[in-house]
């Protein structure tokens, strides 16, 4: 099984239990680098797939919460190399991981080395928010060579033809942005969410995970009715910011 297929399988497994897959997002090394592995484990114990955010100096697609966590982690010395080292130390978590990173840290790291280390540390795919499909062939090639997935994002504004193209190109799952905004906007999902998610789902064989603006159990339920999974980002980072228990928060989203 290619690594990206582990993502698909984990999501399907959750669905087969009658529930949407839960995909929590964690800024690596936030709030404290030496708690990274423990926090990751706790989250991975509840989540079906875990998204690990690589901090970047210029997080243009993120809202205030994730920006803050990103700058904080950078200030404390977190880097991509360090993250791989930590993941290596942590050993296999059973829960498959995806890395979410802006392109430049990946470029600086080198694509081939990236794919190698990812494969060795349970990272099954990548989400690169500033890399549209048109610019992605090099990275895609490097990842596919190791069976890793480059997960494509689609949005409510994506035209039908482009949606098909992106769905086809995606691996592991398709990331459906629920609002045309940045991460961390207020709760409240758009009215026509159902139609949108249904049309994304219809465009692909892969499971569709919906992200942006998911904060409460009812958001997960709403999304779950029309998508295979729910991605929880800013809301979880806020929990960590407050020093609350991330696992308990994630459990609450399932109820």
């Amino acid at each position: 099984m290619a690594a990206h297929e582990r993502l698909t399988a984990a999501i399907r497994a959750a669905n087969s239990k009658g529930q949407p897959a839960l995909v929590p997002f964690l800024t690596a090394g936030y709030p404290e680098p030496d708690e990274f592995v423990d926090t990751l484990r706790a989250i991975a114990a509840v989540g079906d797939v875990v998204e690990v955010g690589i901090p970047f100096s210029d997080p243009m697609a993120d809202g205030m919460t994730i920006q803050r966590s990103s700058f904080e982690a950078l200030r404390k010395g977190v880097s991509l190399a360090w993250i791989f080292d930590e993941l290596e130390k942590a050993g296999d978590l059973a829960t498959p991981l995806v890395m979410m990173s802006y392109l430049n840290p990946l470029l600086a790291f080198g694509y081939d080395r990236l794919a190698e280390r990812a494969l060795a540390t349970g990272v099954c795919g990548f989400i690169v928010p500033d890399l549209p499909f048109e610019e992605s062939s090099e990275l895609r090639a490097a990842l596919e060579a190791k069976g890793l997935g480059l997960i494509q994002l689609v949005t409510p504004a994506t035209p039908a033809a482009r949606l098909r193209m992106l769905s086809d190109a995606s691996r592991g799952f398709v990331y459906a942005v629920t609002i045309t905004g940045i991460t961390g906007g207020g709760s409240g999902l758009p009215d026509d969410l159902a139609d949108y998610l249904d049309s994304v789902s219809a465009s692909t064989e892969l499971p569709v995970c919906a992200g942006f603006g998911i904060r409460e159990a009812k958001d997960v339920a709403n999304v779950g009715a029309h998508a295979a999974g729910a991605i929880v980002g800013s809301a979880l980072v806020e929990v960590l910011e407050r020093g609350d228990d991330p696992a308990a928060y994630l459990e609450s989203l399932r109820s």
Partner: protein, 417 residues
Amino acid sequence: MTFALPAAEAQALLDATLRGELPDDRGRFGPFGGRYVPETLVPAFERLEQGVREHLHDAGFQAEFQRELREWVGRPTALTHAPRLSEHWGTEVWLKREDLAHTGAHKINNAIGQALLAKRLGARRVIAETGAGQHGVASAAACARVGLPCAVYMGAVDIERQAPNVDRMKRLGADVIAVETGDKTLRAAIDEALREWVTDPAGIYYLLGSAVGAHPYPYLVRELQSVIGEEARQQMIDQAGGLPDAVFACVGGGSNAIGLFYPLLGDDIELIGVEAGGTGDGLGQNAATLATGTPGVLQGAYTMILQDADGQVQETHSISAGLDYSGVGPEHALLQATGRVTYVSANDADSLAALEELCATEGVLTALETAHAYAYAREWSSRNPGKRILIGNSGRGDKDMPTLTRYPVRSGSHGGA
């Protein structure tokens, strides 16, 4: 560090540039450029690219744009011979006076062009970022002129050091939005503007202020700013009796420089871009992206950037807010890589001294950004006596008074000197 291309590839790309074939269909200037933007913005960029293709070289648009440049911006701007500075330097010095353009810098050429485009594209409002505030003022003015509301994102640090421009923007009817994230300067302001754009990509027009970012901005801005070099070329012939031996422009994002250089690329002229050398050579002490950076992706383009080994973008330092940026326009990265243009830097202190010398000898109070070009041109002149040079006087220094008043005028350098 300088990124250089193999000679044959460099020559081929330079030839393509001269034939007007770059950027290519993917928005590339050779290896540089492109469009690295979130999927949420892809439709907005496609719409913009489509709009540029449709309107920019349309006769109706061009007629309107040229009329605004002439009637409202005040073009052509003057070409000034600087006899006393020439005497000091030992070269024949000419200045292209973008400081005389409406609102006080070259930024207005681009702002009015894009504002007209925004209007044609049916935008309901305009957003812009600004560093020195010049682009913010230009955008505010241009939007008022065409009748569109305007919001300007500006780093909190820049708001402080360019206070006069903040007041001007507000008075011209723009909302000025203080950016408290990131480095609180131009880079953070661009990010915030992009975030805002995502919320209403169809209704908002993002009026970017320099030849940076994702395609088609570097192309669009170059086309709108090339009027500088086109005018200057003809004026040198008419007034100086011939083209200059060397041309100097300061480089922040690179819009005034590309506007001045682009029409001169095919001439036998040494072209020199001058970046902010800040207080020293260390990472974080300057904003000399081309002179000291490495290739990477920042804010939409593959270009030269200031970054560490992990690909984290570095904060910059410059006394001039308008040069205080970790990236640079991708076309400059190509022009450097092909060897056609040389990029150097001038530090804070030399730039201040040059600003003062220009005041004292020619009665022209130039912008701190622009002063960097003078600082290097002065040094170059000491090694090249008798040459004829042209300096892109990109803007006026009124906006810099809060910074300048911290540096007392050095006695003895003024009046009759």
